[in-house]
Symmetry: C2
C-alpha cells in the first residue's frame, strides 16, 4: 500500500469500534488509475451512492469524496484506489443507530498484468463455494465478502486465473472478482444479479456500449449453457475485458467479442487493445 486516508487525513489506523470491522457494515469500490487520473470516477461515485442508499448509509458529499480520490490518484506510483465507506463507530449491537459514514481511501501500486493475457486469455475453474441468495444485498459491493474469500481459497498457483461461482440452483453468477459474459453466435449474455453477485461497473460498461453485429442482454445461465457458448470473457474495472482460454478443460478459442469490447473500453482504462 502506498498511502491511506481516513476522512481525508493521512492515516493507516482505524478506530477499533468501526462497524465495517464488526459487521462488514459498509461498501467498497476499486478504481483503476491511469496517468494519475482515476478511471470511470463518476460511475464509481454513483455506485457508492446507490450502495449507500441500499444500506441506508448516510452518503458523504460527492464533491468531497471525488476530490479525495483525485488527490490520491495523483500520488506517485498510484495504480489502484480502493474506497471503503463504513457506518462509522457504533455502540455494541447490530442496531444501525445514528452514525456518520467514514471514508477510507487506500492507494496501491498498479497490479502486474502480463499483456499476453489479452491475447491468450486466462484459464478458469469452477468453485465449490456457492453464492447464497440475498436479494436485499444482491448487486452491491458491500463488505460481507466471506463467500468470495472461501471461493478464492479453493486454488493456489498462477495457472488458474479465476474461478466461477454458482448459486444454490447451479445458475452461474460470476467469477470471484469479475463478471462473466458468454457469447452464443451474435448474442452476448451476462448472468442476472438480482439474487446474488456484484454488478460490476465494467459489466455495466459492456451492457451500455453497443457493438455492431452483437446484441447484449442479461439472462439466467446454467453450467451446461456455458458448454455450448462460443466464447467467454470476464469484466472488471482493474483488468478490463479478459478473454477466457479455457474453463475446466473446455477450450474457447474465439475472442471475437472480447476484442471488440477491449477496443471500446480499454483506451479509457489505459489497458492494451489487441488488434
Amino acid at each position: 500500500m502506498i498511502a491511506s486516508f481516513i476522512d481525508g487525513q493521512a492515516n493507516a489506523l482505524l478506530p477499533i469500534s468501526d462497524r465495517g470491522l464488526h459487521y462488514g457494515d459498509g461498501l467498497f469500490t476499486s478504481l483503476r488509475v491511469h496517468d494519475g487520473r482515476p478511471c470511470w470516477l463518476a460511475a464509481h461515485g454513483e455506485r457508492l451512492r446507490q450502495g449507500a442508499e441500499r444500506l441506508a448509509l448516510p452518503m458523504v458529499a460527492a464533491a468531497v469524496l471525488i476530490g479525495e480520490i483525485e488527490q490520491a490518484a495523483a500520488l506517485p506510483n498510484a495504480g489502484v484506489i480502493k474506497v471503503l465507506l463504513t457506518r462509522g463507530d457504533g455502540a455494541r449491537g447490530y442496531a444501525p443507530g445514528p452514525s456518520s459514514t467514514r471514508r477510507i481511501v487506500l492507494v496501491y501500486r498498479a497490479p502486474l498484468i502480463d499483456p499476453m493475457l489479452y491475447q491468450q486469455g486466462i484459464r478458469l475453474r469452477w468453485c465449490a463455494t456457492q453464492l447464497g441468495e440475498q436479494p436485499r444485498l444482491a448487486g452491491i459491493k458491500h463488505l460481507n465478502r466471506l463467500e468470495q474469500v472461501l471461493a478464492r481459497g479453493e486454488w493456489q498457483g498462477a495457472d488458474i486465473g479465476e474461478g466461477l461461482m454458482c448459486d444454490a440452483q447451479d445458475r452461474v453468477i460470476a467469477a470471484t472478482s469479475a463478471n462473466l459474459f458468454a457469447r452464443f453466435g451474435t448474442e452476448l449474455l451476462t448472468p442476472a444479479l438480482d439474487r446474488c453477485g456484484i454488478a460490476g461497473l465494467c459489466r455495466a460498461a459492456v451492457l451500455a456500449t453497443p457493438a455492431p453485429g452483437f446484441t447484449v442482454a442479461v439472462a439466467n445461465l446454467s453450467r451446461l449453457d456455458l458448454r455450448s457458448a462460443d466464447e467467454l470473457f470476464l469484466s472488471n474495472c482493474l483488468r478490463g475485458i479478459v478473454p477466457v482460454q479455457e474453463l475446466a478443460g473446455q477450450r474457447y478459442p474465439s475472442m471475437q467479442a472480447a476484442r471488440r469490447w477491449m477496443q471500446s473500453l480499454h483506451p479509457a482504462l489505459g489497458l492494451p487493445t489487441p488488434i
Copy 2:
C-alpha cells in the same frame, strides 16, 4: 467501551489493511462477565476454534487467548467481553494467502437489563429481511453480519425487544441476536441452523441441559408452527433465557420452560432466576 486490546496490547487502533474490515474475514464471540470472571469461557474458546477451522483461519494458542480474556474480565466495570479474530493484514484481493490471525479483545460495561424482563418477557416482531442460505458459513459467528444489521434496522424504540428472521423458504431461523425455542406441550424445539443462522452457546446449553418433563430437539419450524406453540423464549449468552410475551400480536402467557432453563443456566451467568 472500557478497554481494547489488539494481540495482547492495549490498543484502540486497527491497521487499515485488516481483512476483518475489508471482507469481514474473521469471527467473533461475546462473553458475559460476572464477578470479574468470563462466563462459559471454555465454550467460547471452543466456538472460536471451530469457527476458525471452518474458515481455515490459523487458530491462536488457546492459552494465550484465554489469559487475555480473563485479564480483560477482571478490569473494573467489565460486563461484556467481545473477542474478534481476523485473518490479519493481507495484500489486496480475496485470496486468503499466508496470514497470521489477529486477536482483538474489547471490554464493555454490562448491558442494562431490567430484571422484570425475566418475569414478563419481551415483545417480538417479524423482520422482512430474510437470511440467505449458505451452508459453508451457517452456524458460525463470522463477521459478515449485514443481514442482521438490516433486520435490526427495521424497527426502533424499546417496546419491541427483538425481531425474528426467516430464510427464503419462510422457515423461522432466529432473532437478530438470539436463538429461538418454541414449546409444544412437553416438547421444546429450536430451529435447525445448517443452512443459515448462528448456533449460539446458550442454545447449545439449553440443548445439553435436560429438564425433567421436557424433551428438547432441533427441527424445522414454520411461521405457522409458532402460532400453535404454547410458549416461546430466546437464548443468548449475554441475557440468558428471555421469555417471549408476544409475537406480532399473539400472546404467549406461559413461561414454564423458560423458567426451568433460567433456573438451570442463570446462576452461572449471574442473571436473575424467577421462582
